[in-house]
C-alpha cells in the first residue's frame, strides 16, 4: 500500500492512502487522520469534510470518504468511569469490544449486545446500531446506550440521550457516522456469572423446520442463530443447523470449567498473512465446506467459551484475505416477520440459480427497530458472503428486487452496492425523517462518507 504523508494548511497531519472496508470492496484514496482528542477533530473539521472510522470492520464504504478526511478513533480509547454496582461504563468511542471483554468478563460483566467480531469500536457499534445473536430478545446496542457525546458540524459537543437532544440521539444511532463524530458513550453492561455459554445445536433438514424451531426456542434461549447450507440442492435444500445459547450460571458448570472461569482466557490465533492471489472460493470448495459444516455438526448441548461462541472467525486474523484482491460483498437483508419464510425461500432459490454460492449464510430472528436508520426491525435477517466477481453485483441487484417486494431492506454497514433509488425505497419514511435532523445539525454536510453520497444521504 502506498502511503504518503502530508499536512493541511493548519499543519495538521494526515496520510493519504487507499482505504476500504472489511470486504475490500470498494477502495478509495482518503486523507487519513488519527486525532487524539476534540481539539484535533475541530481543526480537521475546519479543513474539510470527514467521517469517523473505528477499526474499519464495516464491509463496504461506510467508513471511507473518497478524497476527504477519515478520522480514526484509535487514539481515543479510554475507559472514563465504571460503576461496579450498576455495570454502567463510560468510555471513549475508540474502545473496542475486545477491550471491554478483556477488562470486564472476569469481573462478571458482558457487553449486552455483541456483533460477530470483537474488533469493533463503540463508536462504530453505535453508528451502525449493531445487533447480535440476541436481537430478538435484547434489541440492538442502542438499547443499552444511555447517552453519548458527539462533536457536531458546528464544532459544538452535544450530549445526547433519550431525554436530551433525543432527535440527534435517534439519528446518530444507526446513522452511519453522518451526524457527527461520536466522542464517548455511556453503556450498561450485562451481569454474567461465568464466561461460558450453555449452547445447543439442532440440526434441521429444511427451512420449514427452522422457522418452527425459532418460535419453539424463542422463550428459552437468549441467543439464537442458524447457519444454512445454501448450495445444497434436491432433498438437502435448505438444510441448516440452529445454534442456541444462554450465559451459563456458575453452579451449572462442570468443576473444570468453574475453575477456568476465574482465569484469564488465552486464545490461539492464526492469520491469513496475505491476500491469496486467486479466489480460493468456487462452487466446489464452497459446496464442500458447507457439506462439511452440516456433516460435522451434531445435535448436542455443550458449554462453550464466549470467545469461541461469539467470535469464531476472530481466531483467524484477516480471514477476508481468502477472498483475494477483488474482495467480498456481504449481503444482509431483513424481511418482515409474516413473510419471512416465503422471502428467504425465494432468495435462496435466486442465489442457487445464479450459481453464486455463499461461503457462510446465516439466518436469525430480529426484534424491534431502534434508531431511525437502524437496520433491524421485527423479522428475519439473512446474511451471505459473495466473492466479488463477474455477475455478483447483478445477482445482488436481483436480490434487492425480491427484498423490496417483501417490504424488506439491506444493512448499510455491510452494503457496498445499493443505489440511491433502491435505498430510498427500502428506507422509505425513515430516510426523510433522518434527513430533517441531518440538515438541522449539519446543513453543510461536514460529515460525509462514500456510502452517504452513494445512497443520497449526503450530496455528491
Amino acid at each position: 500500500m502506498e502511503e504518503r504523508a502530508f499536512k493541511t494548511q493548519n499543519s495538521m497531519k494526515f496520510e493519504e492512502m487507499e482505504l476500504s472496508g472489511f470486504g475490500k470492496y470498494p477502495k478509495a484514496k482518503c486523507k487519513v487522520t488519527r486525532p487524539t482528542g476534540i481539539e484535533d477533530l475541530k481543526e480537521y473539521l475546519k479543513e474539510g469534510p470527514m467521517v469517523g472510522r473505528g477499526l474499519g470492520r464495516s464491509y463496504g464504504d461506510a467508513a471511507i470518504n473518497k478524497g476527504g478526511f477519515v478520522a480514526e478513533s484509535i487514539h481515543m480509547n479510554r475507559f472514563l468511569a465504571f460503576d461496579e454496582s450498576t455495570g454502567i461504563l463510560r468510555c471513549e468511542a475508540g474502545v473496542t469490544y475486545e477491550n471491554l471483554l478483556d477488562t470486564f468478563v472476569l469481573r462478571g460483566w458482558f457487553p449486552p449486545v455483541t456483533p460477530g467480531t470483537k474488533y469493533v469500536t463503540m463508536g462504530g457499534a453505535i453508528a451502525s446500531d449493531v445487533h447480535g445473536k440476541n436481537h430478538h430478545k435484547a434489541g440492538s446496542i442502542s438499547s443499552f446506550v444511555l447517552s453519548f457525546n458527539i462533536l457536531t458540524a458546528s464544532g459544538k459537543v452535544m450530549k445526547c440521550s433519550r431525554e436530551e437532544n433525543s432527535d440527534l440521539f435517534w439519528a446518530t444511532v444507526g446513522g452511519m457516522g453522518l451526524t457527527g463524530f461520536i466522542l464517548d458513550c455511556e453503556i450498561k453492561l450485562r451481569k454474567i456469572e461465568s464466561p461460558y455459554i450453555e449452547s445447543k445445536a439442532v440440526k434441521l433438514g429444511n427451512l420449514n423446520a427452522l422457522f418452527d424451531k425459532f418460535e419453539e426456542y424463542d422463550a428459552d434461549y437468549h441467543y439464537s442463530v442458524a447457519w444454512m447450507d445454501i448450495v445444497a440442492k434436491g432433498s438437502s435444500y435448505g438444510r441448516n443447523v440452529l445454534f442456541l445459547g444462554n450465559h451459563s450460571k456458575l453452579d451449572e458448570l462442570p468443576e473444570k470449567l468453574k475453575l477456568r472461569s476465574k482465569e484469564k482466557h488465552i486464545e490461539k490465533k492464526i492469520s491469513v498473512p496475505f491476500e491469496i492471489p486467486f479466489s480460493t472460493l468456487n462452487k466446489v470448495t464452497i459446496s464442500l465446506f458447507n457439506s462439511m459444516i452440516y456433516m460435522t455438526s451434531k445435535n448436542k448441548e455443550n458449554f462453550e467459551h464466549y470467545d469461541k461462541y461469539f467470535y469464531p472467525l476472530d481466531s483467524i486474523l484477516n480471514w477476508n484475505h481468502i477472498y483475494s484482491k477483488s474482495g467480498l460483498i456481504q449481503y444482509q437483508l431483513n424481511i418482515p416477520e409474516d413473510r419471512g419464510k416465503e422471502a428467504v425461500d425465494k432468495l435462496l432459490h435466486k442465489v442457487v440459480s445464479f450459481g453464486g454460492g455463499s461461503f457462510l449464510a446465516v439466518l436469525k430472528k430480529m426484534g424491534d427497530q431502534e434508531g431511525i436508520l437502524s437496520f433491524p426491525f421485527r423479522g428475519y435477517t439473512l446474511s451471505m458472503d459473495f466473492p466479488v466477481k463477474k455477475g455478483t453485483i447483478e445477482m445482488c441487484r436481483k436480490l434487492d428486487e425480491i427484498v423490496l417486494d417483501y417490504g424488506g431492506r439491506t444493512y448499510l454497514t455491510k452494503d457496498s452496492i445499493l443505489d440511491e433509488v433502491t435505498f430510498k425505497k427500502m428506507y422509505k419514511g425513515l430516510w426523510e425523517k433522518w434527513m430533517d435532523i441531518k440538515i438541522k445539525y449539519d446543513p453543510e454536510n461536514k460529515f460525509t462518507s462514500s456510502l452517504g453520497r452513494r445512497i443520497g444521504l449526503c450530496p455528491s
Binding site: E3, F6, R34, R78, F79, A81, F82, T103
Partner: protein
Amino acid sequence: MSLLVLGANSLIAQAAAANFAQAGHEIIFAERNKDELSKIAEDFKIRHKVNCYSVQFDALDFSGHKKAVEDCLALIPDLQYVLITFGYLGTQESAQIDFSEAHRVIDLNYTGVVSICEIIAAEFESKKKGNIAVISSVAGDRGRQSNYMYGSAKGGLSVYLQGLRSRLFKSGVNVLTVKPGFVDTPMTYGMKLPGILVASPQKVGRDIYKAMINGKSIKYTPFFWWYIMKIVKSIPEIIFKKLKL
C-alpha cells in the same frame, strides 16, 4: 511494587505501565496536561484495578522538579521504578532557522531529563535501591542531517545515562537506556516510515517492562535495531556525510 511515569501522555509510557499494572504495581502518572492526566489514571484504575495517582509535572519547569519528586514520594515513599518518557521530536527544518525550536528540542529531550534524573538519582542512591529507565532513541546513536537536533539531544542523553549508570551501580540502583526505533504513535503519524520497521507501542512497552524488571542496561526495541544501528554506526564518516540520511 510501584512505578512512577514521567511523561504519562505517551503511548509507549502507557503501554509499559500497563504491564506494570497487570503485575500489580501501584502507579503514579506525572504529566503536564491536567485533563489527560486524570483520564489516564482513571482508565488505568478501571482497566487494571490498581491504585493510581496523578501528579502534575512540567518537564520544562526545572525549578519545580524537586517539588514534583517530593509530591510523588509523599504518595509512595517506597517508590521502586521510575520511567521517564517525555520528549519532543520537533522539526529539524524549523530548529535550524529558529533557535527557540532547537532550544525546546534540547530542553525536553536532554536538560529536562537531566534535571529530574539527578533528583531521583540522589534519592535512590541514598536508599541504595531503585530502578530508573529513560527513553532515549536510536536517533542518538549517530547524527544525521535529517534530524540531528533531536538526535544530538538524545545522543547526549544516552551518554549522560551511561555515566549515571556507572555512578549508581555501586549503590545497587539500575539505570536503563531504552532506544526505540520507529514506533506507531501520534508523534510519528504522518511521517514517511518504512512500514516493516514500525513497531506498535504495545510491543515496545512490553520490551521496556521486561528490560526494567530484569535490570538491563541498554535496550534496543524492537531488538533488530541493535543490528541496524551497528551497521549505521560502522559506516565511515567520509562516506556517511555524503549519504542523504
